[in-house]
């Protein structure tokens, strides 16, 4: 357990150094980056057992990074660090695929305790990917060599579908992932977004299509 690999995405240099130093002292194997791009590269090279993500990263929203990591097939628990403690901010982390959060300033002991708890329950091992790659910095979707540019909302919807590929994603889950907490989203709005996503996916040769599961939601096989 003490050999668990932790990946940290935090743009504040001083705080990142402190967390890295503290977690190493706790016996974790720690790698860190200040940007979403850096974290994705690190995650690809060394699949972590848990990830700590600051929501306010310079090149992407931490929640988008989380969704992209999930779409990459990563199942390791994600713990968000946030300086914003309003309810919608806290909830949005969970909708984006997060497992826990801590509000800054946090107690280091609590961070360690929460990480250990997540690691105990943690599902390790990576899932296979659908072949679709999403980019949280540019909000683009890629398949093979082709890419399509998405809007932030389309990005979030597609990330969730890719992360859950093979399973049906309920309409409600899609709405929670795509729109801020409390937003009034009509069913036909979601359908319109899915229709646009389908059009954009068709521009990627060979990309798996989005299938409608009547009365339930959508799925990517």
């Amino acid at each position: 357990m003490s050999e668990a690999r932790i990946l940290i995405a935090e743009d504040d240099d001083e705080l990142r150094e402190l967390v890295v130093r503290g977690l190493r002292e706790e016996g974790f194997q720690v790698q860190a980056s200040a940007s979403a791009t850096g974290v994705r590269e690190l995650a690809e090279r060394m699949p972590p057992d848990a990830i700590v993500i600051d929501i306010g990263l310079p090149d992407a929203d931490g929640r988008d990074l989380c969704q992209a990591l999930r779409a990459d097939g990563l199942t390791a628990p994600v713990l968000f660090l946030t300086a914003r403690d309003a309810l919608p901010d806290r909830l949005s982390g969970f909708a984006a695929g997060g497992d826990d959060y801590l509000v800054k300033p946090f107690s280091f002991a609590e961070l360690v305790a929460r990480l250990r708890a997540q690691l105990r329950r943690g599902v390790s091992g990576n899932r296979t990917t659908a072949g679709l790659v999403v980019n949280p910095t540019t909000h683009a979707a890629g398949f093979g060599h082709a890419t399509a540019v998405l809007t932030p909302t389309e990005f979030r919807l597609l990330s969730l579908l890719v992360a859950c590929h093979g399973d049906t994603v309920r309409r409600r889950q899609l709405i929670q992932a795509g729109w801020p907490h409390g937003a009034v989203v009509h069913d036909n709005t979601l359908d319109a977004y899915i229709a646009r996503l389908r059009r954009k996916l068709r521009t990627l040769p060979g990309a798996p299509p989005i299938t409608t599961v009547h009365g339930v939601g959508y799925t990517i096989q």
């Binding site: 240099d13 001083e14 130093r21 306010g56 310079p58 300086a83 901010d89 946090f106 002991a109």
Partner: protein
């Protein structure tokens, strides 16, 4: 204070009063016409009776002879027959009537009226060969007519009152139905503005008063929502700015205390804590200054160019670190209605920003024109991208080029500067590059 009655009440009162006035006129007119008609009818009856009697009178040798038997059918209409002024036949009536009949016969008029008892008298001259020999006078009691009039008045007032009540009820309910949407919208808007700022009435095409009201309320809610969102963004950014150094202090302290450390480690921890405490101090000072500027915008004055020099020298260490030169130009003498501390708070984030992004130089030019003082802060960096002019003033926004480790908080600097500038009646605007270009205008003192 007494509450003014609602619009529904006022409309009800006005419209009911109008209907009531019309009804009063109608009832009065009806009763007047009725009375006139009844009077004429009584008159006609008396005249007819007098004429009938006249036909029964025989004149022989200048002598008038009354009919033998009075007309049984008209027993209730007494008849007098006068030969000249002398009554030759006189019913058993009161003295007042006898006198009135005699007066009518004497005057030769066609009719007259007695008020007690209410009676109508009609006279018909008895003539023979153009000579007036006497007069027949018939009297009709007006009592039954008055009775009819009273009944008619009573009934018409009753009907009018009932009609008024029905009309008032109808108006009340119509007004209620017409104003119900207004009442509903008022309470909905009140609830939404407090609890659910994302709700709107969403009228597609406002084509009546209610629709336009809904559209107006929607616009109002939009403005409240955006003001609150801006405020929330600002508060969120303040909390972010304060929490980041606090998080460092807490993490550093906790780490240092988790186990025994050597003196050098403690020293390093204390230095980090001290640095972050200073940063917190700076942020709190800036926030307090901003709050002061908003509470009490114009306190003191300062020399515009001296403020620029002061900001330039405060930014000197940063400029040196980034290898840029800061120039100040402008003629002394222009004064701004803001004290030097507050004015520096407006300029400093802009100048620090320019030091971060400028390549070799940063310029602060002070220009006085049209009653205002304008600071033009320019640099030779990449400048602001298309569509970023407003975005960079959002709390939490960071310029596209480099995520600068700004000393006073990168996310709040420009947003706070603009906030303070607006509090003192000024404005900050940015121009699209190449080269960073900001204008700060403050009304001259």
């Amino acid at each position: 204070m007494r509450r003014r009655p609602g619009i529904r009440w006022r409309l009800l009162v006005v419209s009911t009063a109008a209907v009531a006035a019309a009804l009063v006129g109608l009832v009065a007119g009806f009763n007047l016409v009725l009375r006139h008609e009844l009077d004429r009818s009584a008159s006609d009856r008396a005249t007819a009776r007098a004429t009938a009697t006249l036909s029964q009178i025989t004149v022989r040798d200048g002598q008038l002879t009354a009919p033998d038997a009075p007309d049984a059918a008209a027993a209730d209409v007494p008849v007098w027959i006068f030969a000249g002024d002398r009554p030759i036949e006189q019913p058993r009536a009161g003295g007042a009537l006898n006198a009135a009949a005699a007066d009518l016969a004497a005057s030769g008029a066609q009719s007259s009226q007695v008020s007690t008892p209410p009676t109508r008298l009609a006279g018909q001259p008895i003539e023979k060969h153009g000579l007036r020999l006497g007069t027949v006078v018939a009297a009709v009691s007006l009592e039954p007519y008055r009775e009819t009039e009273r009944t008619a008045l009573f009934l018409s007032v009753l009907v009018a009152a009932a009609l008024l009540a029905v009309v008032a009820l109808a108006i009340w309910s119509i007004l209620g139905r017409a104003l119900a949407p207004v009442a509903e919208m008022t309470s909905a808007a009140a609830i939404w503005s407090e609890h659910d700022l994302d709700r709107r009435f969403g009228v597609e095409s406002p084509d009546d008063e209610i629709g336009r009201l809904a559209a107006t309320l929607d616009g109002l809610l939009d403005r409240i929502a955006s003001a609150i969102r801006r405020e929330q963004l600002f508060t969120a950014e303040i909390s972010h700015e304060l929490r980041t150094p606090l998080a460092r202090i807490r993490a550093e302290t906790e780490l240092a205390l988790r186990r025994e450390r050597n003196a050098a480690e403690y020293r390093a921890a204390l230095i980090t804590i001290d640095r972050n405490a200073l940063q917190l101090n700076r942020i709190v000072d800036t926030l307090l200054d901003a709050a002061r500027a908003e509470a009490e915008p114009r306190a003191g004055t300062s020399d515009a160019v001296q403020v620029a020099r002061r900001v330039a020298s405060a930014a000197a260490p940063l400029a040196e670190q980034h290898g840029v030169r800061v120039d100040v130009s402008g003629v002394s003498g222009a004064r701004i209605p803001v004290d030097a501390d507050l004015a520096s708070r407006i300029l400093q984030p802009l100048v620090e920003n320019a030091c971060h992004y400028g390549r070799t130089w940063v310029s602060i030019a002070v220009v006085q024109r049209d009653g205002s003082v304008t600071y033009e802060i320019t640099d030779d960096g990449d400048g602001i991208g298309q569509g970023e002019q407003e975005m960079i003033f959002e709390p939490g926004a960071r310029g596209g080029a480099a995520p600068a480790a700004n000393q006073t908080g990168a996310g709040l600097g420009l947003a706070l500067a603009r906030r303070i500038a607006r509090a003192v009646g000024g404005e900050i605007s940015a121009e699209v590059g190449p080269g960073g270009r900001f204008h700060v205008s403050i009304p001259a003192a």
